[in-house]
């Protein structure tokens, strides 16, 4: 059985980057697949990889698989400005980020047209 845990953006919006990453990694280390509403910044992704590397311990935790489901519709005009500002302040709320333990996910393939999760 595989458990998915949905993490609404509001539950991480007020956390700093370090706490965001820790919160997500804790769920993944409990053998659940995180479905995060929105996206991490590139720096948060890099930090997540660093934390992951530091915590790898065989056989329980051998790392993570990451993927994203993009939200393709674009805002226009004033809405685009507002959205840009909001995403700079609190982060990108659109799209989904998938983070799962490498012990249960073999690989994630995501290109613009599809998202595939290969289980072990």
């Amino acid at each position: 059985m595989v458990t998915f845990q949905f993490v609404p953006f509001d539950s991480i919006a007020k956390l700093n980057s370090r706490k965001r990453v820790n919160k997500l990694l804790r769920i993944v280390k409990n053998n659940k697949i995180v479905i995060l509403e929105g996206r991490l910044t590139p720096e948060e992704e890099a930090h997540l990889i660093e934390r992951t590397m530091a915590e790898i311990s065989h056989p329980r935790f051998s790392g993570i698989e990451l993927g994203r489901i993009e939200y393709s519709q674009k805002y226009k005009g004033w809405d685009a400005v507002k959205h840009k500002l909001a995403s700079m302040l609190v982060g990108e709320r659109r799209g989904l980020t998938v983070i799962g333990p490498a012990t249960i996910i073999d690989k994630i393939v995501n290109n613009p047209s599809q998202f595939q999760l290969f289980m072990k």
Partner: protein
């Protein structure tokens, strides 16, 4: 002390002072760091060796078909490459450990390593990934080396390029291994449309002269 002795001492002190001031002068002039980044096995070290062989006549890194061969940052200082139009580029070349999100020692055992050796390699590899990420901030420009036979839409590629973009570090993407039949440079171009993508074979030297020209153009 004799007059002669004094002269020797003063000239020694003078040359020492000269060396010190010269030294600080050089310390101020920051050397340009060109980093090779990418996922494991893309051919970073093969390209690093190609560059140092062409311009210094020696290897700098170890190459292997087993992932995470490079597990520490390797720097070769003072490489000067000369372009066709007489332009020069001087830099310190930084070969980095491949960045990945998962490391399992059993994967190394499948490649024929003994358990203890595989475990050691895995441990070192995790540290190498952290080191690569930490060094991102130090780079002046980066060549991202991707295996053009592989899916370019991997999260690691997106994270690396996203971080370079966020740090405003100039990026040149190399589509490596174009000698292989399954190579698909167009897919890399489609995945990263805002970047320049340059196809090479680091192993066989295909397009390498053009790559040096590109490097000079992109870094100067």
């Amino acid at each position: 002390m004799s007059v002669r002795g004094k002269q020797v001492v003063t000239s020694f002190i003078k040359s020492l002072l000269h060396k010190i001031s010269f030294g600080t002068l050089f310390a101020k002039k920051k050397s340009v760091k060109l980093g090779l980044y990418g996922p494991p096995n893309g051919g970073k070290s093969t390209l690093a060796n190609r560059i140092t062989n062409d311009w210094l006549g020696e290897d700098m890194s170890s190459v292997s078909n087993v992932e995470h061969e490079t597990r520490e940052i390797i720097i070769r200082e003072q490489i000067i490459i000369k372009g066709k139009k007489g332009k020069e580029l001087s830099f310190n070349l930084v070969d980095t450990p491949g960045i990945s999100t998962r490391i399992d020692y059993e994967d190394f055992m499948k490649k024929g390593m003994k358990r203890t050796e595989a475990k050691k390699r895995a441990k070192e590899a995790t540290k190498g990934v952290i080191e690569s990420i930490k060094w991102l901030d130090d780079m002046d420009s980066v060549v991202v080396v991707l295996d053009s036979t592989k899916d370019p839409y991997s999260q690691v590629n997106i994270t690396i390029i996203g971080n370079l973009q966020a740090r405003k570090i100039p990026v040149l993407i190399v589509a490596n291994k174009i000698d292989l039949k399954r190579s698909n440079m167009e897919l890399i171009k489609a995945a990263f449309p805002q970047y320049e993508v340059f196809g090479i074979s680091a192993k066989y030297g295909t397009n390498i002269e053009e790559f040096y020209e590109k490097l000079i153009e992109f870094s100067t």
